[in-house]
């Protein structure tokens, strides 16, 4: 078991080190774009910073955190040793080598292509090969998760897989499906182009393949937060999970619906017809179903906790919840951010409304609120819950933990509310600086400064978070044993095979992917679009 704890901690510390660096870079970027930061930094430095921020947050923080959390769940929920521990360490080091390759290429200015890279602009091949190594490491993790669940099922015939593990494997299966798109793009298009083996590239096809990965990847990042909602939070609040079945349905819906929707990122693109965009918009609407179900089930679970603590009336139970516990506080704050972010997402989904906000600060605000806000705050909550189990030491005081969560929430709201407004005013994304002398842009200045203040608050929160975890390693208090995972109100004794495995659902994913992406990808073979010359930034 000690070895697994070291494995988890190694993954988490890489994730959070990347997170801290990315927070510093993000704040610097906001300063450069504000009226206070005019003439600070060059565009070269700015886009290097944006690339590093995006890669660190989206690929390093998430992938390492999810892998570490998965190993933790596999050992604690299944209560058996992790299969293939050597493979897990091998995957860790492979991903580390990948990260170092990415880091070197980005810092030497050979990979300023942002993290959602779109050819024909191509970076150094080592940037892409490094990312492929990170993804390949995560594939090893996926296989280990599937093997762990299979071994448990073999030894426990007919028993329902513990929900935390079921959800983790749902995420692994989904990740295997979704990385196919970007893997095909990188291996067959981008890496040959960046190596100089080919001189032209089909930009429309590359964008389409990336979109395959582009939305489901967000759900890969999001599912750990939902695992916490269903399996950790009800217990942390002192209650029970309202419905185990609802949890299984939710994670299956994430697997099925997050994949055939990526083209909604291409609604303003010229290479796909109206009909295909329309189909994927309809499918996108269904992705809100698992989230809306979750809001209900988790609220009901928290209500149970509140009533057990003596809450009365329709809303009285809310005040009775143990808000002093970081996990409960994070859930409450996370739900608020999820609400605002989800509303913005519905606007983005809207087939016509998207034209108003596409590639504006609105979109940046939306995903910072959903991912940076509600997902990352649950990463904090998970870390705070399981760190004592990994180190064997207890938090000396919960005050700094609560302060950190509040700072993150306040910073995120102060940063993203102005961004939403600026997006509606037409402030566009991905520029190194704004010319505040322009009369249209001048009016944005105060809003940009408010959002910058939010950025500073977020940076303070990030520093406090890393401090809170670091000092726990030297805390003198030994951890008191207590269960982590919530029991359901009615723990399942048997569940239908469809809710205990993914065979059926993989078939459904295949059908939906053929429906949503079959022709949109085939069109590039039937009638190839004229290729563009490769533009190398290195």
């Amino acid at each position: 078991m000690r070895n697994v704890e070291r494995l988890c901690l190694a993954h988490f510390w890489v994730a959070f080190a990347a997170f801290l660096v990315a927070c510093i870079l993000g704040t610097w970027q906001m300063w450069v774009r504000s009226p206070w930061g005019a003439h600070v930094g060059t565009p070269g430095q700015y886009f290097m910073s944006v690339t590093a921020h995006g890669v660190a947050m989206a690929y390093v923080l998430t992938t390492f955190f999810i892998m570490g959390f998965g190993y933790f769940v596999a050992v604690t929920a299944l209560q058996r040793p992790l299969p293939g521990k050597i493979w897990a360490w091998g995957a860790f080091w492979m991903a580390i080598i990948g990260v170092v390759m990415v880091l070197i290429t980005v810092l030497t200015g050979q990979a300023s292509v942002l993290f959602t890279f779109y050819p024909p602009l191509t970076a150094s091949p080592w940037f892409y090969i490094g990312l492929v190594l990170v993804v390949a490491g995560s594939w090893v993790w996926c296989v280990l998760m599937i093997v762990a669940m299979r071994e448990w099922k073999r030894d426990n015939p007919g028993k329902p897989v513990p929900l935390a593990m079921f959800a983790t494997v749902a995420n692994a299966v989904m990740w295997l499906w979704t990385t196919v798109g970007v893997a095909v793009e990188l291996v067959f298009q981008v890496i040959p182009a960046s190596l100089g083996l080919v001189q032209t590239i089909d930009a429309g096809l590359a964008r389409t393949l990336f979109s395959w990965t582009l939305h489901a990847i967000v759900y890969f990042w999001l599912i750990p937060a939902y695992i916490a909602f269903y399996t950790i939070i009800p217990r942390a609040a002192g209650g029970r999970l309202y419905s185990d079945t609802m949890g299984r349905v939710t994670f299956i819906l994430f697997l099925v619906y997050s994949l055939p929707v990526g083209m909604h990122h291409l609604m303003m693109d010229p290479q796909h017809g109206n009909g295909w965009k329309f189909i994927q918009m309809l499918l996108t609407a269904f992705v809100s179903v698992p989230t809306l179900l979750t809001i209900f089930t988790i609220t009901a679970s928290l209500e149970i906790a509140g009533r057990l603590r003596g809450g009365r009336g329709v809303f009285g139970w809310i005040a009775k919840l143990p808000w002093d516990r970081p996990a409960v506080l994070a859930t409450g704050l996370g739900f608020v951010m999820l609400g605002f972010g989800g509303f913005g997402g519905l606007i983005n989904m809207g087939y016509g409304m998207n034209a108003m906000v596409h590639n504006t600060s609105w979109v940046t605000a939306h995903f910072h609120l959903i991912f940076g806000g509600s997902v990352v705050i649950m990463y904090f909550a998970i870390a705070y819950e399981i760190w004592p189990r990994l180190t064997g030491r207890e938090h000396a005081s919960l005050g700094p933990l609560r302060l950190q969560l509040w700072l993150w929430f306040i910073g995120m709201m102060v940063m993203t509310v102005p961004w939403h407004w600026l997006g509606l005013q037409g402030q566009w994304r991905r520029v190194a600086n704004f010319n505040y002398a322009d009369p249209i842009i001048a009016g944005w200045g105060p809003w940009v400064l408010v959002s910058l203040v939010g950025g500073f608050v977020l940076l303070a929160s990030a520093l406090l978070f890393v401090r809170n975890l670091a000092i726990l390693h030297r805390s003198p208090l030994p951890v008191a044993p207590r269960p982590l995972y919530a029991l359901a109100v009615h723990p399942p004794h048997r569940v239908p095979a469809a809710l205990n495995g993914f065979g059926l659902w993989n078939v459904l994913v295949l059908v939906l992917m053929l429906l949503a992406y079959g022709y949109p990808i085939a069109q590039f073979v039937i009638e190839p679009s004229p290729a563009a010359m490769v533009h190398r930034v290195h």
């Binding site: 010229p270 998207n354 010359m533």
Partner: protein, 185 residues
């Protein structure tokens, strides 16, 4: 084995969940109905005109050759604007459009992916090499608008923008060849 009250309670939980799921279904159906209704009745659609063009030669001849860029009023009175998005500018850098008349905007890129929006309007499209991006719109306010590139296209991306001059009828006067430029204002 079965405990009667437990089973009733389990069924009640299932009942509340199904009721909520039904509400979710109604909510989504209502949202989609609004989107479909406006798409059908007001032609609110994303720019989706799949039209291929070779990025390597588009500026040498044909529609996007130099003399065709800018604003043209056709014999039938239709206003068409053609522009190239290239590292790191739009050609032309100022676009003249009429107030309150339908305009068709057509863009193409000879090099990398660009994108554009016109501040304060619903004009927003990606410009992907290999395709012509087309947007139909009507400008309802007479002023000078910004048209930045909104997709990262290289280190000079931040310097890439054009202006859009929305002209009233007395200003928007096509020349004998049907062409209008910002300079005429």
């Amino acid at each position: 084995m079965t405990d009667q009250p437990v089973e009733i309670h389990e069924r009640r939980i299932l009942g509340t969940e199904l009721l909520w799921a039904f509400g979710v279904g109604v909510l989504i159906a209502a949202t989609l109905s609004v989107i479909v209704f406006t798409a059908l009745t007001r032609q609110i659609n994303p720019p989706s005109n799949v039209e291929r063009i070779d990025p390597k030669t588009l500026h040498l001849s044909g529609e996007f050759a130099e003399h065709n860029l800018g604003t043209t009023v056709g014999p039938d009175g239709r206003v068409t604007v053609r522009a190239i998005a290239t590292q790191f500018m739009f050609v032309p850098r100022c676009i003249a459009v009429p107030l309150g008349r339908p305009v068709t905007l057509r863009f193409a890129s000879p090099d990398v992916i660009h994108g554009l929006l016109i501040t304060g309007t619903n004009v927003n499209t990606m410009v992907v090499p290999g395709f012509v991006s087309q947007v139909h719109t009507e400008f309802t306010r007479g002023e000078s608008l910004l048209m930045p590139c909104h997709e990262y296209c290289g280190l000079g991306h931040s310097e890439m923008w054009a202006t859009v001059q929305v002209m009233r009828d007395d200003q928007f006067k096509p020349g004998p060849d049907g062409r209008v430029s910002c300079a005429q204002r």
